[in-house]
Symmetry: C2
Subunit: 462 residues, 2 copies
Amino acid sequence: MTKTLRRLALSLLPLPLLAAAAPPSPVEKLRDETLAGDKVAWDIVEDLTTEVGPRLAGTEAEARARQWAVKRLKALGFHNVHIEDATMATWVRGAETAEIVSPYPQKVVLTALGGSGATPPDGIEAQVVGFDSVDALRAAPPEAVKGRIVFVSHAMKPNQDGSGYGYYGAVRRSAPAIGAQKGAVAVIIRSLGTDYHRNPHTGLTTWGNVTPIPAAALSIPDAENLARMLKRTPRVTMRLTLTPRFVGDTPTGNVVAEVPGTDPSAGIILVGGHLDSWDLGTGAIDDAAGVAIVAAAAKKVMEAGRPRRTIRVIWFGDEETGGAGSRAYFAAHKGENVVFVGESDFGADRIWRFVPGFAPENKPLADRIASALFPLGINLGRGEVEAGADLGAWVRAGSAGADLGQDGTRYFDYHHTPDDTLDKVDAEQLRQNVAAWAAMLSLVANAPEPIAKLPPRPERRQ
Amino acid sequence: MTKTLRRLALSLLPLPLLAAAAPPSPVEKLRDETLAGDKVAWDIVEDLTTEVGPRLAGTEAEARARQWAVKRLKALGFHNVHIEDATMATWVRGAETAEIVSPYPQKVVLTALGGSGATPPDGIEAQVVGFDSVDALRAAPPEAVKGRIVFVSHAMKPNQDGSGYGYYGAVRRSAPAIGAQKGAVAVIIRSLGTDYHRNPHTGLTTWGNVTPIPAAALSIPDAENLARMLKRTPRVTMRLTLTPRFVGDTPTGNVVAEVPGTDPSAGIILVGGHLDSWDLGTGAIDDAAGVAIVAAAAKKVMEAGRPRRTIRVIWFGDEETGGAGSRAYFAAHKGENVVFVGESDFGADRIWRFVPGFAPENKPLADRIASALFPLGINLGRGEVEAGADLGAWVRAGSAGADLGQDGTRYFDYHHTPDDTLDKVDAEQLRQNVAAWAAMLSLVANAPEPIAKLPPRPERRQ
């Protein structure tokens, strides 16, 4: 089936570029050579997922990933490769088992959400009460919830732009705390995903001032099975054992590498992704692909000759479980003249949309980037640049930036699951990503005009 | 992606049948009404997978399934519904965890093969030696294997007719015993499957006179990751814990239901599938679908008026872990005049091929069946009828029979995995299965001519 999808996706990649009347510009040459032959990104994704594998933030596996990253980025010829340390409160998974006790006894597959509280070691047993949405849970009287295991479902579907994760994401982010406030003994959700495999989707849940209770995601087949049981009878009893725990403060960190520029007064470019991953898969699409894409693209620009502006490649720590890496980086560097940022954290399927976020006076630069991207099948989108969890603070503070949006149709089939593994990355689409990034970075880094700041904007509430 | 495949599959289903010059025959009417509206099969699959779920042979879950089956078959109006008891040596799964210890520490996902031996409770640790095929393992000198964890890979690919399971199946059936004979401490295989999910494929392995050792299947992403590690270094160490055990002799059994015929001298028809399932999934495609298809088809024939020949529907116990159910049934009934058998045990995707297995004098009956099936998109195949693991003994003994071959392109994506769940069954394709079976059963049960026996043939060696 992957093959079918891949064929569909590839049919959307550009035809071999026709011979133009004029010889290709340096940026066209860079783009097309990257599209045809980049191996740097694939090797990073393959090697990181094979040689390190899962790398949960704050654990020794993430620390091994940092050492691996320093070695690789130095080997690729980057300058000033170093780790910037940070500290975080670290959560680790424990046992996680569950079964329907009655009336239809059988095991179910689930996984703890990041930040989940724990049951006693021998578990809890309680009646399940189901809700179709987080809004239905919000509206429920506490007496319907108290002492129960709350099950919350949703209707998320795949979309090319990944939208849906925002609204439906409240089921994961907020439902556990809402359930806890109403007296639930645990909250289990339909995985925030779009697949039909017995691989539940983990991800962070947030508690605010509420004391954490056990919170877990059922695989979607298990969630639908539970929904069918609840349709037959309101009296479904479940036994649940979850023993995750916080292990206190441990080290995390960001790995930084530079392509030095010739003109310090022209400002710095930050590009990044995150080095940590959830612990269930090997973090191939989330986000080995992202760190690979930005590094491979920066290397291409470096190889084409020293650019005007310094490009700083940052592989952030702890994106997944709280953002300690990006917070530390912004706090330490916010005084620097960062003129442009871009992040890759949405897998490696083909980029289909370029959303520029420049000040009006830089429209000519945005237009030059768009022109370089059209032949890759990338069209111009409008809207607010997000630059993701790791670099969003910079665009909110006024740096220019851009989003290169990947096709997210199958992203939430694998996101945060054991299935996030190397085989989900398509080498040809990955090269299209690197080509797009290389073209954009080359144009921004070498732009002769100044890159202006924008007015700061507040963080949007989710 | 399921949707894409489904669309492809459905595009192969027949166009609405054109108005014929003549009014439809009774069999055409039965077929087309079933195709348009059967709900019996879907309800069996949904209810069995929801209300019983996994039902490993010899366990209390299989016993619950038999009680469920008796109740359902009686409710459907079948006659003489009863259980025929049998006894089996029962194997149950225990703990199963594994990790690469060095040089690339990370957990791997695997599952014990049926019949696997156990490690000590705290596991074993040993160096891994890899082989690309069972033939390569066969050729290896014992000193390359002794004291090692043997990893065996293979190149199985999906095929419409399911072929590949025969040859590549030796990796699961035989490699563990071969490894044990050469002194391996455990054998782990690339799952005998065609998917890319972290859901390993279990299934029976056989030992002959060899003492069982721990034997497990890695998910395919894990197997490919291990292969990449072994490509980087021959010194990969793994820790493996598997604690399955045999629990001694426990009950299994076959659930039998009848559509009584008018003419006892015309012989009996046996149709079946198996009620037991592996313990990882809910046994939707393997084989809730099969028992549902044959029962729903037999019910259609029953509703159309009492047939000439008795149709006996058998939901066998213990197909997966050794075949105690079918052996007991054949031993108890082999003196009866069984003139035709058919089994459904290959999921519920569309039937694309009818392979008749009649004596030459019954060619007209085979032709009538083929004519009734062509409008469903089912063509005529040639070859030896297998009638599957549960009813194959009858065709080998000389009963006529037929295979209605389902499209197996995605069958080995889910076979014997946690992913064998209701959502893998497509309601429209399931109805096509029931329609084909109903048409065939109606023609065989009501055939005015005698149905002849064939010469017995030996069991093929695998």
